[in-house]
C-alpha cells in the first residue's frame, strides 16, 4: 500500500461477538479485523456459519439478540457499537446502505416503489417534488426503463432482479460512503446477476462508494473484488489482493475452497471436496478450527490457535504457512 491510498470508510477492529453460552460454544466472531477504503470493493467470503453475515450486519449496528461484543466497528472513524439510537438511525440513513439477498424482504409490499424511494429523502427534508425527481434519476441510474411509471407501481409488479435494482437505487439515494451487500445476487438468475453486478461496479466507479461484498461464491468474488477476506468459524483466516489470493493462497482452507469450487473452463479439474463439515456453533475447537478438515494439519494445529500473520502481500492465520508449506 502506498501513501496515496484513500482513507478507510470502514474499519472493523478486532471485533468479537458472543452469544449467551447456552446458544453457542464459541464466539460467532473471533477477533475479526477488516478495512474498506473509498472506491474499493472488498469481498468477504465464507461458507454458512462462518460469521460473514453477522460481521456485515454489525456495520449497521444490527447485532443478534443477546450478543455481547468487544472491539470496534468504525464507519468514517465513529464506532457503530457505541452509538445511541439517533446516531445509529442517522448512520443508516446517510452513511451506510445495505442490500440484502432477498429484495422482497426489504420492501414494504403494500406501498408504491415511489414512496419507498422517496421516504428517506423526504425525512431528511427534501421537498416532495425534488425527492421524486431524484428517485427518477436513481431508477434511471440502475437501468430501469420508464422510471416515472415505475414509481407508481407496487413491488409485486417487479421481477426479483428489477426489485433488487430498486433496492440498490434506494440504497444510493443518500449517497452513502459505504455500501454493504450481503449476497445481493444469490437469489437471482445468472444473466440478471451480471446486470446487477455491472450496475454496482459502474456506480462504484462513478461515485467512489466503498463496497463490502459478502458472498459464498468465490468465482463471483474473484470477478469483482479488489481484495478478499476469507472467513472460517468466525475468524478471518486469510486476506490479500484478489489476484494473489486466487493464484497463491497461503491458507489451506482458501486453497480447499478454490479446489472444491466447480470451474466452467474446459479441462478444469473436477471439484475436490474438503472432507468433514464446517465447525458448528456447538463446537469450540481448542486449536485451529480448520485443523480437523485440513490435509496439512499436524499435532500442533489442534492445540495452538494461529494468529493472522503476514505471508506474501497479505495475511494468513496458519501455523503451517509459517513453515512455508506448498498448497
Amino acid at each position: 500500500m502506498n501513501l496515496s491510498t484513500p482513507p478507510p470508510v470502514l474499519e472493523i477492529d478486532r471485533l468479537e461477538l458472543r452469544l449467551p453460552d447456552d446458544r453457542a460454544a464459541r464466539p460467532i466472531l473471533d477477533g475479526v479485523s477488516l478495512t474498506v477504503r473509498a472506491g474499493e470493493t472488498v469481498g468477504l467470503v465464507g461458507e454458512s456459519g462462518s460469521g460473514k453475515s453477522v460481521a456485515c450486519r454489525s456495520v449497521l449496528g444490527l447485532l443478534p439478540k443477546g450478543s455481547r461484543t468487544a472491539g470496534q466497528v468504525r464507519v468514517n472513524g465513529a464506532d457503530v457499537l457505541t452509538m445511541d439510537r439517533a446516531r445509529l438511525a442517522a448512520l443508516r440513513a446517510r452513511e451506510v446502505a445495505m442490500v440484502f439477498q432477498d429484495p422482497r424482504a426489504s420492501v414494504n409490499p403494500l406501498r408504491r416503489v415511489g414512496d419507498f424511494l422517496t421516504e428517506g429523502l423526504r425525512a431528511s427534508g427534501t421537498p416532495a417534488a425534488r425527492a421524486t425527481a431524484r428517485a427518477e434519476e436513481l431508477l434511471d441510474a440502475v437501468g430501469i426503463r420508464d422510471p416515472r411509471g415505475a414509481l407508481r407501481r407496487h413491488p409485486h409488479q417487479f421481477s426479483g432482479g428489477m426489485l433488487q435494482r430498486v433496492v440498490i437505487a434506494a440504497a444510493l439515494a443518500a449517497e452513502p460512503a459505504l455500501l454493504v451487500a450481503d449476497e445481493p445476487t444469490t437469489a437471482l438468475d445468472v444473466t440478471t446477476q451480471a446486470e446487477v453486478i455491472s450496475i454496482l461496479a459502474r456506480l462504484r466507479a462513478e461515485r467512489g462508494t466503498g463496497m463490502l461484498f459478502v458472498t459464498h461464491d468465490l468465482e463471483l468474488a474473484s470477478a469483482i473484488c479488489d481484495r478478499v477476506y476469507v472467513m472460517y468459524a468466525g475468524r478471518i483466516v486469510e486476506t490479500r489482493s484478489t489476484d494473489e489470493l486466487f493464484d497463491r493462497p497461503r491458507h489451506p482452507y482458501t486453497a480447499g475452497l478454490l479446489a472444491c469450487t466447480p470451474r466452467i473452463e474446459a479441462g478444469a479439474p473436477a471439484p475436490r471436496p474438503i472432507p468433514g463439515r464446517p465447525v458448528s456453533l456447538a463446537e469450540a475447537p481448542a486449536g485451529c478450527p480448520f485443523a480437523a478438515r485440513c490435509a496439512h494439519a499436524v499435532a500442533r494445529c489442534a492445540e495452538e490457535k494461529p494468529e493472522l500473520a503476514r505471508h506474501g502481500e497479505g495475511f494468513a492465520a496458519c501455523l503451517r504457512a509459517e513453515e512455508g508449506i506448498r498448497l
Binding site: E47, S48, G143, D189, V190, T191, T192, Q193, A194, E195, I197, S198, A201, R202, H216, D217, L218, E219, L220, S222, A223, I224, T242, D243, F246, G256, L257, C260, T261, P262, R263, I264, E265, A266, A268, A270, P271, R272, P273, I274, P275, R277, P278, S280, R293
Partner: protein, 267 residues
C-alpha cells in the same frame, strides 16, 4: 418413430400450460441408459416443470415420456403400475431442509421405502438400510437421528439414499446441490459420481449452474421460455455455443477478469 425399442428415457414433444402461460413448449430429449444429461435454464425456463412431469408430480398436456419403450405419460392405472414407475425414476429435491418428513427418523425414512417396494423382512431391511447409509457416507448415529439433528449436507445424503433404495433406472436431481455450501457441494457431487459409476444409474441434472454442468453431465439441454434452444455434448455446447442465449448464459458466469458490463449491452 422407429419400431425398435429404445433403451433409456425418451421424451418427445412434452407440453404443459398454466392458464395462458406455456410453461413447457414441445420439449424433446433422450437420456441413454446410464447416461447423464443436464437441463439448464433460468427461472421460468420450464426446466423444473419438465422433470416434475417425468416423475408424475405434474400431468403433461401433451407429448410422451417413455422409459425403455414403456410409456409413462398417462396416469398410472393401478398400484402395480404406480410402483413400477416409481422404481424407474426417482428424484432428489433442492431443499434438504424441506425434503424429509420432520417426524420420521433417517432409518425409518429408508425403511418405509423398502417396505413399499420390496418383500424383505424386518432384519433384511435393517441390513439394507445400514448398507444404503454406508453408501452415502452416513453411520448408525445419523440413522437414529431425526432430520432436524442433521446438517444440510447430511440430509441431502439421506435424500439420495432414499432415492437409491428403490434402485431406480433414472435419478432426477432438481438443483440437488444448489442449497449446499461449496465444500459440501463437492462432496455430494463426488458421491453422485461414484454411485453412477457403480450402479449405472442415469442422471437427469436440473441446474442453473453451468460450472456444475461441466463436471457432472455428458450432454446438456438449454431451455428458455419452455423451449429447447440448444442441446448437445457438454464440451461442444459450453465450448462452442451456437445459440445466442447459450452464449449469453455462458458470458454471465462470473470468473476472474470477467466484465459484467460487456455481457449485457442493454443500457
Amino acid at each position: 418413430m422407429t419400431t425398435v425399442v429404445e433403451k433409456g428415457l425418451v421424451v418427445d414433444g412434452l407440453r404443459k400450460r398454466y392458464g395462458d402461460h406455456l410453461a413447457v413448449d414441445g420439449v424433446s430429449f433422450a437420456l441413454p441408459a446410464g447416461g447423464s444429461l443436464a437441463i439448464v435454464g433460468e427461472s421460468g425456463s420450464g426446466k423444473t416443470t419438465t422433470v416434475r412431469m417425468l416423475v408424475g408430480l405434474e400431468r403433461a398436456d401433451g407429448g410422451t415420456v417413455r422409459l425403455d419403450g414403456k410409456d409413462r405419460s398417462a396416469r398410472p392405472r393401478n398400484r402395480a403400475e404406480r410402483l413400477a414407475r416409481a422404481r424407474d425414476v426417482q428424484m432428489v429435491f433442492q431443499d434438504p431442509y424441506l425434503s424429509l418428513d420432520p417426524r420420521i427418523s433417517v432409518s425409518g425414512c429408508l425403511d418405509e421405502v423398502l417396505r413399499l417396494h420390496t418383500s424383505l423382512d424386518a432384519a433384511a431391511r435393517r441390513a439394507r438400510v445400514a448398507d444404503l447409509l454406508d453408501r452415502v457416507g452416513l453411520g448408525a448415529r445419523e440413522a437414529a437421528a431425526l432430520p432436524r439433528g442433521l446438517s444440510g449436507g447430511q440430509r441431502q445424503r439421506v435424500a439420495i439414499a432414499r432415492a437409491l433404495a428403490v434402485e431406480p433406472r433414472v435419478l432426477v436431481l432438481d438443483e440437488a446441490v444448489a442449497a449446499l455450501d461449496v465444500s459440501i457441494q463437492a462432496q455430494i457431487l463426488d458421491l453422485l459420481r461414484e454411485i453412477r459409476r457403480e450402479a449405472g444409474i442415469g442422471y437427469l441434472f436440473v441446474t442453473h449452474d453451468l460450472a456444475v454442468v461441466r463436471h457432472v453431465a455428458d450432454d446438456v439441454l438449454v431451455l428458455k421460455s419452455g423451449q429447447v434452444v440448444e442441446s448437445g455434448p457438454v464440451d461442444r455446447v459450453l465450448g462452442a455455443p451456437e445459440h445466442p442465449y447459450t452464449r449469453l448464459l455462458l458470458n454471465s458466469v462470473p470468473r476472474r477478469g470477467w466484465d459484467p458490463a460487456a455481457v449485457t449491452d442493454r443500457f
